[in-house]
């Protein structure tokens, strides 16, 4: 299904599809996930977790599709995923990292107006004394590897599949 939703995204980028097409593609993807994910969780319980990750979309940003795909693929990849949702305040990110003792914090930001929150959260982790305990992985349409370097995050992923790969690399499990 990732192949299908990626194709929908590509067609949107090239102007062949419009926003309603993208939304319907997302609905179709979610309809499939609703069926497949419970089975995936059953299988995951039988395997050992490869790591804990807190995942969310930053404050001011309500985009969820990319994050949801990443969450599903991370779960499929054996991670214990705590999805804290969209429009997540700084304090909720830091508190979740502390509560779940996560090895990775994944933050999504789709808009240039909201990517600054990724920097704010990274700074807050330092202030809270958590930065040395958690790797920061960022993604989203407005982000780049240059931005990752600027905010001193540990990893950046351009796609959901790459996000899983980077998460495993950051924890040294691949």
């Amino acid at each position: 299904m990732v192949e299908g939703i990626t194709a929908v995204g590509d067609k949107y980028q090239t102007g062949e599809f419009f926003l309603p097409d993208l939304a319907m593609g997302a609905e179709a993807f979610k309809a499939g996930i609703k069926i497949l994910e419970p089975e995936l969780f059953k299988l995951r319980k039988e395997r050992e977790s490869v790591g804990v990750i807190v995942l969310g979309t930053v404050a001011g940003d309500i985009h969820s599709l990319g994050k949801d795909i990443v969450a599903t693929l991370l779960t499929a990849g054996g991670f214990e995923v705590h999805d804290v949702g969209v429009d997540v305040p700084i304090e909720e990110f830091t508190e979740s990292v502390r509560t779940f003792k996560s090895g990775i914090l994944g933050m999504s930001a789709l808009m240039s107006t909201t990517i600054g929150r990724q920097r704010d959260v990274t700074k807050a982790l330092k202030v809270e004394g958590l930065r040395g305990k958690v790797k920061v992985l960022i993604g989203g349409a407005a982000t780049s590897d240059l931005w990752r370097k600027e905010i001193e995050a540990d990893g950046w992923a351009a796609t959901a599949v790459e996000g899983v790969k980077k998460a495993k690399q950051l924890l040294g499990v691949e």
Binding site: M1, M24, A28, F29, G32, I35, A76
Partner: protein
């Protein structure tokens, strides 16, 4: 019997066609045919 790859192709096409009902039924079919949910995703 329909090959696994063909079911997976239909699943991807259902998403590309933006058809939630077809995607849901094809996902159920994939599980019934013993396809790993990870592979289906």
């Amino acid at each position: 019997m329909e090959k696994r790859t063909e079911i997976l192709e239909r699943l991807n096409k259902a998403v590309l066609d933006r058809d939630p009902t077809l995607t849901e039924s094809t996902a159920k079919e994939a599980l019934q045919k013993g396809i790993d949910p990870l592979e289906a995703i």
